[in-house]
């Protein structure tokens, strides 16, 4: 169990000299850009972002499978930049499990322990405990490639857990499972981490996974850390447009608007008018004059009004998506196409004229130029 700290970490992948000469490309790709992140002892932290954002590279740097170009990586109170992966006391779970195909399940799990030269009864004790914990005691003698993916996944986890490392590192381990198994494993993994209390750094591009399992989420894009916070902090107060767009399904409605004198919001198109009551602007934002902004409203914070007159904005229903436990309507309004999430009992058909109201307590405001949140 240990704290993991990344201090001013950069990672640049050099393009081969020959290729640079041939194509005139620049010197390389900055995969990770000035990353400063502290993962607390015993925390389940998820690195979340689209492919290419640098999350896997960051994980691999913590593991020692990649070396940082500049910056420090600390595990506990040791600086580990120069240490090979085997000496860092970490366990890595790969996306494709990487189970040794020629070894049985129990041999796969004991393999890392034999490298550590533990006494045989200690090994036996740990393996039994892990097998019971992960419910794989009935398949210990089998070969991994004959097992269904859910069980392979648990063997991979077992191999990591049995080492009792300071930190678990996981690279999208659930991506290859089908939807229902994924939902099940999310719950199991979360519970397991809570029981073991070991620090866990987990990489995924699936925001549901991130929200469901983590203590905190670190959202990354193009090598830059966008925001770190608890799932609800990230969901309720995204600090950048990227985070607002990335988390939440369906994506947040973003309405181009103007902020007048730091108090009134008026949409660029259409009659939408809001007062900024009950919200505080960031300290450094200028208060006077007009400011180009994007008003963000999540689809569940937009409601169908009872009468069209009382609405903030009105329009025509173009698409109706009944999802069972809720329905999503796409409404074409003067302020643009807006998505509204409603309980299933409310039914409207494409072509119906509807009015929409916005929950004033749950709006978001972003500067159109900087893409940063203006609200605290």
């Amino acid at each position: 169990m240990a704290e993991v700290r990344l201090i001013n970490v950069n990672k640049k992948f050099e393009t081969a000299w020959t290729r640079r000469r041939a194509t005139g490309e620049s010197a390389g790709v900055l995969a990770v850009n000035q990353l400063n992140l502290t993962i607390q002892d015993g925390e389940f932290l998820v690195l979340l972002g689209p492919s290419g954002c640098g999350k896997t590279t960051t994980l691999r740097m913590i593991a020692g499978l990649e070396t940082a170009t500049t910056g420090q990586i600390m595990i506990g109170d040791r600086e580990v930049n120069q240490l090979p992966p085997g000496d860092r006391d970490i366990a890595f779970v790969f996306q494709f499990y990487a189970l040794y195909p020629h070894l049985s399940v129990i041999d796969n799990i004991t393999f890392p322990l034999r490298a550590q030269k533990l006494p045989p009864d200690e090994i036996k004790r740990r393996v039994e405990r892990v097998a019971r914990l992960l419910r794989i005691d009935h398949i210990l003698k089998r070969r991994p490639n004959r097992l269904p993916s859910g069980e392979q996944q648990r063997v991979a986890l077992g191999r990591a857990i049995v080492r009792q490392p300071q930190v678990f590192l996981m690279d999208e381990p659930l991506t290859n499972l089908d939807a229902s198994l994924r939902a099940e494993m999310r719950v199991e993994l979360k519970h397991l981490q809570q029981e073991l209390g070991t620090t866990m750094v987990y990489v995924t591009h699936d925001q549901t996974e991130a929200m469901s399992m983590s203590h905190r989420i670190a959202v990354m894009n193009l090598g830059v850390l966008q925001q770190v916070g608890t799932p609800l902090e990230i969901y309720n107060r995204p600090q950048t447009l990227f985070v607002a767009n990335f988390i939440g399904s369906p994506p947040m409605n973003l309405i181009p608007a103007r902020l007048h004198d730091g108090r009134q919001i008026a949409s660029e198109d259409g009659p939408l008018r809001l007062d900024l009551n009950g919200h505080r602007l960031q300290a450094d934002s200028a208060q006077d004059g007009d400011r180009k902004v994007l008003l963000g409203v999540r689809s569940e914070d937009m409601h169908l009004a009872d009468e069209t007159d009382a609405a903030d904005v009105s329009g025509v229903v173009t698409v109706r998506e009944p999802l069972g436990d809720e329905t999503i309507y796409q409404v074409e309004t003067e302020a643009g196409a807006l998505l509204v999430k409603t309980p299933p009992r409310i039914v409207r058909q494409p072509g119906d004229r509807v009015g929409l109201t916005i929950d004033r307590r749950r709006i978001h405001l972003f500067d159109r130029a900087t893409e940063h949140s203006l609200l605290v």
Binding site: M211, M213, L232, Y235, S249, E321, L323, G324
Partner: protein
Amino acid sequence: MTTLEINHLSKSFGRVQALNDLSLGVHSGEFLILLGPTGAGKTTTLRCVAGLEKPDSGMISMGGARIDGLSPAERDVSFVFQSYALYPRKTVYENMAFPLRAREMPADAMRSRIQDVAAKLRITELLQRRPAQLSGGQQQRVALGRAMVREPRMFLMDEPLTNLDFKLRVEMRAELKRLQKELGATFFYVTNDQVEAMSMADRIAILSQGVLQQIDSPETIYTRPANLFVAGFVGSPRMNFLDCVFDPAARALVADDQTWQMPLSPVQLNTLERSASGGYVLGLRAENVEPVWESAPGVIPGQVYVVEPLGDRTLVDIKIGASMIKAKVPPTFAAQTGESLGVRFDHDRFSLFNKSTGEVVL
């Protein structure tokens, strides 16, 4: 008016029975989605309709006439592949022109048709590019465009959105649905993503191991699933399943481990008394499970296992006896692992399945 009739279709590949006596119909102008897990036989069905696969037995008719003997070219259907299958050496324009050339359409008519479709799909600027230069979403539209230029009787689509990233998929769902209504075309669409099916289909046909499970509107499938498979496949999170037996003396369903009871109405009692069965499975959706802090009569005691805050809602996994139940609660709900938390079931909104056959009873 194009209707599709599939009658008693069977097809096996070696020892694997892909389709097993499948019969279903697609109405004209309908968006019908064939839904099922991988290997259910959905793609095989679609390919049989397109003429890319020959069924072992059964009949396929379109618009009232049999099409079994026709080659793919003669069936006048469009097929959108999961991998799009855009001709790699041709420009986007050429890709869309290719099917029209087979019909020897005059050049002017062809050009105007292609430009119409390109405008509708917003790919006009891409007409001179090659597929390799396009993003996934753009390739998708081109594949759609190639299907649309022919104005076919029916559009066959094989998981066309699977290779797109999440955000794009959500956008394309709405767009596909709008497009279908605009064109007034018949869409026969295959997917393994139940959210996709629910959001786009007029009717959903659920397939498992080559056998049709249920064919109904999305709402009906969600609220009145015909069997355990459908109930467990559609709806996220998955429906809670609890083993139980019918206790006539208690006039209720009783859990196998005695942890809860579900009282029954006279009508329900009647139905159950007539269908004597050993075991049942109670199906409750997460939104019909209500967590309750205080113990009271009718509240089933339990313990919090895991709390999943998803932003717009929170899921709480609660251990009840030996079973695990998921409850859907508002995002403001707070609970910790290990806390004692009871649940109440919604007596009006549950399904009951025969444990051995899986068929719905109530």
